[in-house]
Amino acid sequence: MAYLLLIFFPVTMAASTFVLRRQTELVIFAALGTVLAQLLIATQIPVDDPTRFLGVTLTLSPLNRVFMLLFLTIGGFAMVGAWHLPHGENFIPIALLILSQVCAVLLLQDPFITTLLLAATGLTAVLAIVDLPAGASNLVGTQAIAAALKYLVLMSVAAVLMYIAFVLTDIYRPGELPGRISPARFILALLAVGFALRLALIPFHTWLTHLVDYAEPLVAALIITLLNTSSLLVLILVFQSYPTLLLESEGAHGVMRLGAVVSALTGGLLAVGPATLRRTLAYLILYDCGMVFYGLASVSSIGLAGAIFGALNQTLAVTLLFVSLGLLERPDGRPPGVTRRDLLRRWPVAGAGFLAGGLGLIGLPPLNGAMSQILIYQAAAQRGWIELLPLVLATLLAGLGLARVAAERLLGPSEVEGEEEPPLLGEIDLDRPAPRRLAPEPRSTAVLTLVLLLLCLGIGLYPQPLLATIDEAIRGLAFLRAL
């Protein structure tokens, strides 16, 4: 019953909030209540206690429970952020639907169903990308439609590739046809491309850059954190369900690791070049996606721990980055159309959040990404310098990219008008324009940014509890022992 509640309760609430969508405050409160109820249900479900429903097995592993709680928390943060940050009229119902689908993905073990659910999350996300605020007087941007179309096509193609791969795994028997080439490599290739599209690995990444450029920050945050990370968990489940795929395709691991290194390196390289704030953010995320995938493709316990911990950190850091970005892009009371360079002074909490999120992605101590990056470096070092060096170089490049964007947009001198000029001859105080008072950051969003920042810092300083949970989950993965 609790399993079904986790899946269907947000769906019913999504329908209710859709009906009431113009009552923004009421809808946000209702959605927050839903998320809290979901969190409570998720903590009550016994771990590794499978149950059958309509011939389908539902179970919650310890690792998936950690991520489910994280996703629900991130969903709650996004709803708090929606109080002041720009979002579409249907953002809350769509976010609840996505949360329901992601919960279903984490609970279900059938690869056919999870693939179709992941595809369905893609279709739901499309609605959020082209969503306009209630009563908006402008038209939907053509670039937003283009981004939505690109996302729809690529996610559907990824689903098709993954589905074909799962059908093949269903009839594949290892060593059955000794004279023929093993289909394991073909299946792994289909899965690699399918998941590379979902995880935005270079060169399958174009949807992510387009999405970050043209979607609202909260929408981009939900898609990148919830959908990408859940795809990564599905990939781990696939390796766990079909370990022979990895056993029979030794050389393919190298190709996957190479792809991950190229993705991280190219992401870092692109971040260094001149680009807007949003585009640089997209490149930093691409770099981190490459790093996380490297940990997974290394197929070692250290690398996998780094990948899982990295995915968790990425979820938090990306949320922090997008909430900060939403604040940084608010009209700040100064003349519009000017590229400001003093964003840290103008929006201190958001500026600090942006810098901390970026540093967290890169893995600078004491932020949360540090430990996961170290684990991934260790996994690379086990393979030799030839794999470690490009990863370190990618991190340096990504760091340079963050430093560039910080110097260009955040750390400049204050552009608020300085001291008052002396009055001209015959001028009195009443002739002068009233002194401009610039509004501070909205309190709820500033608090949210600080909470996320503290979470990143807290995990960075004290990662042991999470690492212990991840280590325990990894010990249960049969494919690592088999390799």
């Binding site: 056919f112 179709l116 038209l139 283009a146 098709v160």
Partner: protein, 241 residues
């Protein structure tokens, strides 16, 4: 002996790949779905459980038929209602002026691009390549229980991908995606129902049909938005800006 249903699947997918006009491609999609459902009935992947005088079919075939009709109806209604305007009451003067400009640009484009045979060269030759591949792959890499099924799903998947790659408007992209979805639907039903596989499950089958309908709805929604914004469904206008 000629399998007319297989021929129907092949010909209708080719029409979708080759032609641009929705008045041709949508009936082709409907016929494709009907042929596919009848092909599934012919191959008897699932034992018939619905008996009406003179006909024995399974519920699965009926579901596929209904899903195919629903998908075609969604897209056809979308194409027929393109002339309607939505949400204009909230627009300011700038938005309305932009719409008038877009309508003029779309009108100019329609009058300046007459029928050209060269527009069909790439889809035609890509179709030829897909046909060769679909004939060769069932022998090189057989997956399904029979060569006919392998040809059908390879052909649907390849024409679907090539339709997406050569599409010039949004509806054509939707048609390509739906062909790909039909391909995996056929593959799943044919392969997983074999004795050596895990067996068909009702939930993935239901989700596949739901996914088809949701995909058609998403394409219809995006088409409505694009037409409302640019007064055209041409991808050139969307990506050219």
């Amino acid at each position: 002996m000629i399998n007319w249903l297989l021929l129907g699947i092949g010909a209708t997918a080719a029409v979708i790949l080759l032609f641009r006009d929705w008045r041709l491609t949508f009936p082709a999609l409907l016929l494709n779905n009907v042929s596919l459902a009848l092909f599934l009935a012919q191959q008897r992947f699932v034992a018939p459980d619905v008996r009406v005088p003179g006909l024995e079919i399974s519920t699965l075939v009926l579901v596929k038929l209904v899903c195919g009709i629903a998908v075609t109806l969604i897209l056809t209604i979308t194409a027929l209602t393109f002339s309607r305007e939505y949400g204009l009451e909230n627009l300011d003067e700038f938005g309305l002026a932009e719409l008038r400009r877009a309508a003029r640009a779309a009108q100019r484009q329609r009058t300046s691009t007459p029928f050209q045979l060269s527009d069909y060269v790439v889809p035609f030759w890509s179709g030829v390549l897909a046909l060769l591949a679909s004939l060769a792959l069932p022998r090189i890499y057989p997956i399904a229980p029979s060569e006919a099924i392998d040809f059908a799903w390879y052909w649907l998947a390849l024409t679907g991908l090539l339709t997406i790659a050569t599409a010039s408007d949004l509806l054509k992209i939707g048609l390509g995606l739906l062909l790909c979805a039909s391909a995996i639907d056929l593959l799943y039903t044919a392969v997983v129902s074999t004795p050596e596989a895990s067996g068909l499950n009702v939930v993935p089958l239901a989700l596949l049909s739901t996914f088809n309908i949701l995909l058609a709805l998403a394409i219809a929604y995006l088409s409505g938005l694009l037409y409302g914004r640019l007064k055209t469904l041409e991808l050139g206008a969307l990506y050219g800006r």
